[in-house]
């Protein structure tokens, strides 16, 4: 009895399952394959579109320009001000002249993305007209290494640092081409993780040091250190996501910027 029932049961069940699995298998190949062929076309389209858009000039050219990643954008700030606005609040109280700021930071940007952004013509006008350019970049380059295990970490770090240094040098050169007189300010990286992993802190400090070396090679560029500011105040200066600065964190960076630049 058992033998007679089990055979058709097993046979048809496996037949149905195999159909499902084969179609699923084909679907997953399609899902990951279709984009491989589609993407280059899209990329070409978008890159050919860019120069045309480049004629658009932002209506009000402003004094302060903020470039970079989520920290430049102000992610985590409860009042949605960010470094630029907070810095403006500081200096606008000091002298009468009203200044404005433009923020073209894009959260999750890495140094590669910023280089692409600088290259696109649409932002040339805002770079050329700014008096102060605040750049926050590199945090995502470095943070991506979190996925590495200990074996590959050092190697991956060297590789990422090398790429980042190249991008940073290119950025400074490109900004200087467009705008030789502006004051540049580079926001250093802080360590959002409390001192659980000394090895990672060491890498972060090395990263900051290398940034500093490149930044200081330009006369009107300043490096704004944040590591020291945040070190003992992570509870106050980090927002609820425990990664981005809070409002008071941004305030401290803005004050430090004010102290260094003025």
């Amino acid at each position: 009895m058992y033998k007679k029932v089990i055979w058709p049961l097993v046979f048809f069940m496996s037949l149905v399952l195999a159909t499902v699995f084969i179609s699923g298998f084909i679907a997953s190949i399609v899902v990951s394959k279709s984009e491989e062929t589609n993407y280059p076309e899209e990329q070409m389209e978008s890159s050919s579109d860019r120069p045309e858009e480049g004629e658009r000039i932002p209506e009000d050219s402003s004094d302060i320009l903020i470039l970079g990643d989520s920290i430049g954008f102000g992610v985590g700030d409860e009042e949605n001000l960010g470094i630029g606005e907070r810095y403006l609040d500081l200096i606008n109280t000091e002298d009468e002249k009203e200044r404005t700021s433009t923020n073209i930071s894009v959260p999750s940007f890495e140094s590669d993305d910023l280089v692409n952004l600088i290259k696109s013509a649409e932002n040339e006008a805002s770079i050329a007209s700014a008096n102060l350019i605040i750049v926050s970049i590199g945090g995502n380059d470095l943070n991506r290494l979190d996925y590495e295990d200990n074996v590959t970490l050092t190697l991956a770090f060297e590789k990422a640092l090398k790429k980042y240094k190249g991008n940073l040098e290119f950025l400074i050169k490109e900004i200087r081409n467009l705008n030789p007189d502006a004051q540049l300010a580079f926001i250093g990286l802080y360590d959002p993780y409390s001192k659980k992993e000394p090895e990672k802190t060491r890498l972060l400090l090395e990263w900051n040091y290398e940034t500093r070396l490149i930044v200081e090679s330009d006369v009107k560029s300043a490096y704004i250190p944040t590591y020291e500011l945040f070190k003992y105040h992570l509870d106050d200066y980090l927002s609820v996501d425990e990664f981005h600065p809070s409002g008071s964190g941004y305030q401290v960076i803005a004050e430090e910027l004010d102290r260094v630049v003025n």
Binding site: I6, W7, F11, G24, F25, A27, V31, Q43, E148
Partner: protein
């Protein structure tokens, strides 16, 4: 032919090996889901203790992230591709907020997928090896091969019936894995979570992971995709196991060889970035699911298609070798 296959299936079933595999699965799935539940609870407790007794409020966090994203996608400076991937994240987060589901809660749907992602390189292939390793070698060690081959059936038919039976049982085994891991983890988590949207379809552009062409599918569809990949991997492992089983006349050596290959292959992966040849080893390519998740470190020259082709080549070669060897083998028992 069909009756031969039917006979082979009955042999596998009567050996009670399926029962052993189901038991092993039950033990591991229960342990893992209990562990996940436990670590989830302690994380929440730790979070509450650290924030000074304030109850963990995921909704506030998620809403903050959602507002943040919506505000950002208004920004006209954001490139179109970035905006598209932001919109997908917004959709995803909206689902969580609307349905009042904490994004980090463990659910049965998440667990079944995770179980495959973790198990596809070692645990599930080992189950297949248990199922398949003594398929032919057992006939030798029990000397029943004589009876089998003295029938008026060509040898290749005997082996083919064994292989078909193995494929059928592998298919059913994959199904059992999905059912068991879903049901058992549901007992622990009390959440199905199959309708939750999930992002997939990451692509490699010049060695970097690109999210611009990702699509949003439900977790159920995603689970089917993951299990289909597991099924393919299982078939490949079954074919390789069949070859070893034909060559080696002893079940325990067959299991030993395959275990050594599977575990040794894991170590070989350390050299993957420097040593080209490692990329063509089957163990290196077993982890097909990682190509769908977008959280992997891309290795040059390796994609889903490459892995599938390599695995297929291994399967076809093992089948050719098994049939060739089985046809010519001297039966000295």
């Amino acid at each position: 032919m069909i009756s031969l296959t039917q006979n082979e299936i009955l042999k596998i079933l009567l050996k009670k090996k399926m029962l052993l595999i189901v038991l092993l699965l039950l033990i591991f799935v229960s342990l893992l889901s209990y562990g996940q539940k436990y670590s989830y609870d302690t994380t929440i407790q730790k979070f509450e203790a650290e924030s000074g007794g304030i109850a963990y409020d995921w909704k506030a966090l998620t809403t903050q992230r959602l507002n943040d994203l919506e505000e950002r996608s208004q920004n006209e400076f954001i490139p179109e591709e970035v905006r598209a991937s932001m919109d997908r994240e917004i959709q995803q987060l909206n689902y969580f907020v609307e349905n009042d589901i904490n994004p980090i809660t463990p659910t049965a749907a998440k667990f079944t997928v995770q179980f495959v992602e973790q198990g596809i390189t070692l645990f599930i292939p080992l189950l297949i090896v248990i199922l398949a390793a003594d398929l032919v070698s057992n006939e030798f060690s029990k000397k029943t091969i004589k009876i089998l081959l003295t029938r008026a059936v060509p040898r290749w038919k005997v082996l083919l019936s064994k292989y078909s039976a193995l494929i059928i049982m592998t298919t059913i085994l994959v199904f059992i894995v999905s059912i068991l891991s879903t049901l058992v983890s549901y007992l622990f988590f009390q959440q199905w979570g199959f309708s939750e949207p999930i992002v997939t379809g990451f692509t490699l552009i010049e060695g970097e992971l690109n999210s611009s062409s990702t699509i949003l599918i439900s977790r159920f569809q995603y689970t089917v995709l993951i299990y289909s990949l597991l099924w393919f991997v299982s078939i490949v492992i079954a074919s390789i196991t069949l070859m070893i089983s034909v060559i080696v006349e002893n079940s325990s050596s067959a299991i030993g060889i395959l275990m050594a290959a599977l575990i040794g292959g894991q170590f070989l992966q350390f050299f993957l970035s420097e040593w080209e040849l490692v990329k063509y080893f089957f163990v290196t390519n077993l982890d097909l699911t990682r190509y769908l998740t977008g959280s992997y470190q891309p290795i040059e020259g390796m994609s889903l298609n490459f892995s599938i082709l390599t695995l297929s080549a291994w399967a076809v070669l093992s089948l050719i070798v098994s049939f060739a060897v089985f046809n010519r083998k001297d039966i000295l028992v």
